[in-house]
């Protein structure tokens, strides 16, 4: 087990180096460099030349490449041009905000998706199965950003117009003034703010999980050991949730690693719409401000999260399925 873990972690290192290389070449293929924003008749070419020298842009490409690798690997992401502060200061807070959103929607995805998949598999070809299949297809085919807009239209904007008892907040992470309240109130406020973004982010993926879960459960339910379990006289609940679910979960766990890039792509849109100050809205704002260091740092951190997520799902897979470890 330890050996397997170590091998997987060693395999991730060249992957991360490669990702850094891709990011480096994308910047250097792009026309212009960071000094381009200072070009103007008032700035003499010598000053620009001095800037290029200070930033190390006049050095040969391979030297720049090695320096860039070194600074990124030591956690020095440089200085954000748009926000005017070091990126190593910005990164932890936006990372934590995105993780809150992503983790809550991961919970929604797996709980809702798996429950729906189980219901569909247990009642195969029933009305409920057909209705849920159509619904899953609908949510699976829906653009995340459109669903997010519709959610905020109905549950935030129209809800207050129509005088619904509960109006969900549709922007930001906290109501103004909550910081004066107690811990419980802050937590409650944060959860309220999480409902709409996490739902918008999770629903499409949950529909995908439901489709997989239905297939995986159906495959397991028709196997002999389930018939044996029923023949032993176990209750249906034990059969489904203990014997069938555990075996059907194995392929679902790999989905965790597979869906992480989709979730983070979705987070870019959802965070922009709900003004959630995380990695996604940071990267979009940084692009509109031409803040290249921040763009590169954010996309690198996002790629690292994806690689770590894949690693985690590999490890989980090895934990639940002993056959994998032997290879």
């Amino acid at each position: 087990m330890i050996g397997y873990l170590l091998r997987r972690m060693l395999g991730a290192i060249p992957l991360l180096l490669g990702i850094l290389t891709i990011i480096f070449f994308i910047i250097h293929l792009a026309p212009g460099d960071p000094t381009a924003r200072f070009f103007s008749p008032q700035v003499s070419p010598e000053v620009i030349e001095q800037m290029r020298h200070n930033l190390g842009l006049d050095q040969p490409l391979h030297i720049q490449y090695l320096k860039w690798m070194k600074s990124f690997l030591t956690g020095d992401f440089g200085y954000s041009l748009g926000q005017g502060r070091p990126i190593s200061e910005i990164m932890p807070e936006v990372l934590w905000n995105t993780l809150q959103l992503t983790l809550v929607s991961l919970v929604i995805i797996f709980v809702v998706g798996m429950l729906i998949g189980i219901v569909q598999a247990v009642r195969q070809y029933s009305v409920a199965d057909n209705v849920l299949t159509v619904l899953a297809l609908f949510f699976y085919s829906m653009p995340t950003f459109w669903f997010a807009l519709m959610l905020s239209l109905i549950f935030a904007l129209k809800a207050s117009q129509w005088g619904w008892p509960v109006v969900l907040p549709s922007s930001g992470m906290a109501t103004v003034g909550t910081e004066w309240l107690g811990r419980g109130a802050i937590l409650r406020d944060r959860l309220l703010h999480l409902i709409l973004p996490a739902t918008a982010l999770g629903i499409g993926t949950a529909a995908g999980v439901a489709r997989y879960m239905r297939g995986a459960m159906l495959e397991v339910i028709h196997q002999d050991f389930i018939r044996t379990a029923r023949a032993k006289g176990l209750s249906e609940r034990t059969v489904i949730f203990k014997h069938a679910l555990r075996n059907a979960m194995i392929p679902i766990i790999t989905l965790l690693g597979l869906y992480l890039p989709f979730l983070l792509s979705g987070a870019v849109l959802v965070e922009t719409i709900f003004a959630w100050p995380g990695m996604g809205s940071t990267v979009v704002n940084a692009i509109f401000q031409r803040d290249y260091p921040l763009v590169m740092a954010t996309s690198f951190v996002i790629a690292v999260i994806v690689v770590l997520g894949n690693l985690l799902s590999d490890v989980l897979y090895a934990v639940v399925d002993p056959r994998i470890r032997a290879e």
């Binding site: 992957l15 653009p143 459109w146 922009t272 590169m296």
Partner: protein, 383 residues
């Protein structure tokens, strides 16, 4: 040994042959469905001709006929010809039991596909969508940039004059949704063509040569997979000068990884098969073996992932346009129309809602089609 009452020289009784290529179907139901489809398409074409002949005349008499109008006229002519040809073939079809088709893999898959009602619905929706897109200049009640008198025509709700309402400039949402379908459908098609070719090539090379070629290509594929697609797209499009062609190209260059993996898996098993060994023994070049013998045999999963990929690409393009990085505003695209309606969401819900529904139905059609194709093309999934 007992004497058999039947002399051995007698020919065996002929086996009962079903008239549909040996595949029992309810012929009656399908014939009626086909007839209804034929009548409907004739009705649609005639109604279109009747409603738009004045517009055709006016535009042709005008000073300048736009290119898309010629395309629409040509597609209309083609559709009428196609409908006439199908009708003619149906009417003079020889009675059942006449000509027999061979049973190729594709014919079998086709029969399975035709029995899958949901997949057929997806196919019909897709055909109708492409027809609508081609015929848009004849169909759209208004031009994509016609504003009317902005004061009295802006921000109207859905009504008989404007089925989907108008936006704040008085532009008709229905017409803009129709014109926007061009962008979505053609970008989806071209980008997927690029990514499928690239993915097939990478997968075939990796699987066929193995060794260091395989490890290098597959590590690169893993790297590309570690970037969330949207983030990579945003970064590239923001750094370079944005245009529709860049969007198409980058969408194509970021969508090939899944296909490459699938094709590699197929090629790994194909490589060991006898017909490839025979081709090698005949002294064929690697290039010829790959392109003539290996790639055609990996087409089935590629077609499936292409169909599903078009849906995903349409979603991604809409997201980019929504963020303001894809198709730029005067040109209507479903993504930037939704972004347009975002500011006036409470006063004019229809501006964002209808383009969104258009995306949903298009993507559902492609997903249904892709699922149906997978069930039909994969022998293990046939029911």
């Amino acid at each position: 040994m007992l004497a058999s009452p039947v002399p051995e020289s007698l020919p065996p009784a002929p086996l009962p042959v079903a008239d549909d290529g040996g595949f029992p179907t309810d012929r009656g139901g399908r014939a009626w469905g086909g007839a209804a489809a034929l009548v409907l398409s004739w009705g649609f074409l005639l109604a279109l001709l009747f409603l738009s002949y004045r517009r055709i005349g006016a535009t042709l008499a005008g000073p300048r006929v736009p290119v898309d109008f010629w395309v629409a006229l040509a597609s209309l002519a083609l559709m009428v010809a196609l409908a006439a040809w199908v009708t003619w073939r149906v009417l003079r079809r020889p009675p059942a039991g006449g000509r027999k088709r061979g049973d190729s893999q594709w014919a079998i898959a086709g029969r399975h596909f035709r029995r899958n009602r949901l997949a057929m619905a997806g196919l019909v929706v897709m055909i109708v969508l492409y027809a609508l897109t081609l015929l848009t200049p004849l169909l759209a009640p208004y031009g994509p940039a016609d504003m009317g008198t902005v004061a009295s025509s802006g921000g109207l709700g859905p009504s008989l004059h404007h089925w989907f309402g108008t936006d704040k400039f008085g532009r008709d949402i229905l017409s803009r949704v129709l014109y926007g379908s061009r962008i979505s459908l053609s970008i989806g098609f071209i980008a997927v063509a690029i990514s499928m070719s690239l993915g097939t090539l990478v997968g075939a090379l990796a699987g066929y040569y193995g060794g260091w070629v395989d490890s290098a290509l597959m590590r690169f594929t893993d790297m590309m997979l570690s970037f969330p697609r949207l983030v990579l797209l945003i970064v590239v499009i923001a750094l370079f000068e944005s245009s529709i062609w860049l969007v198409v190209l980058v969408l194509g260059l970021t969508g090939w990884m899944g296909t490459a993996r699938i094709v590699r898996g197929e090629v790994l098993s194909l490589r060991e098969r006898e017909f490839i060994q025979a081709a090698r023994a005949l002294g064929m070049e690697d290039g010829r073996i790959i392109f003539r013998h290996i790639i055609p045999n990996t087409l089935a999963p590629v077609i499936v992932s292409a169909t599903l990929g078009i849906g995903q690409t349409i979603l991604t393009e809409a997201s980019l346009s929504f963020l303001g990085l894809g198709v730029r505003p005067p040109t209507p695209s479903w993504g930037n129309m939704i972004a347009d309606g975002r500011d006036a969401l409470t006063q004019a819900w229809w501006i964002s809602t209808f383009p969104g529904l258009a995306i949903v139905f298009t993507v559902i059609a492609f997903n249904l089609l892709g699922d149906g194709l997978r069930d039909a093309l994969d022998p293990r999934l046939r029911t």
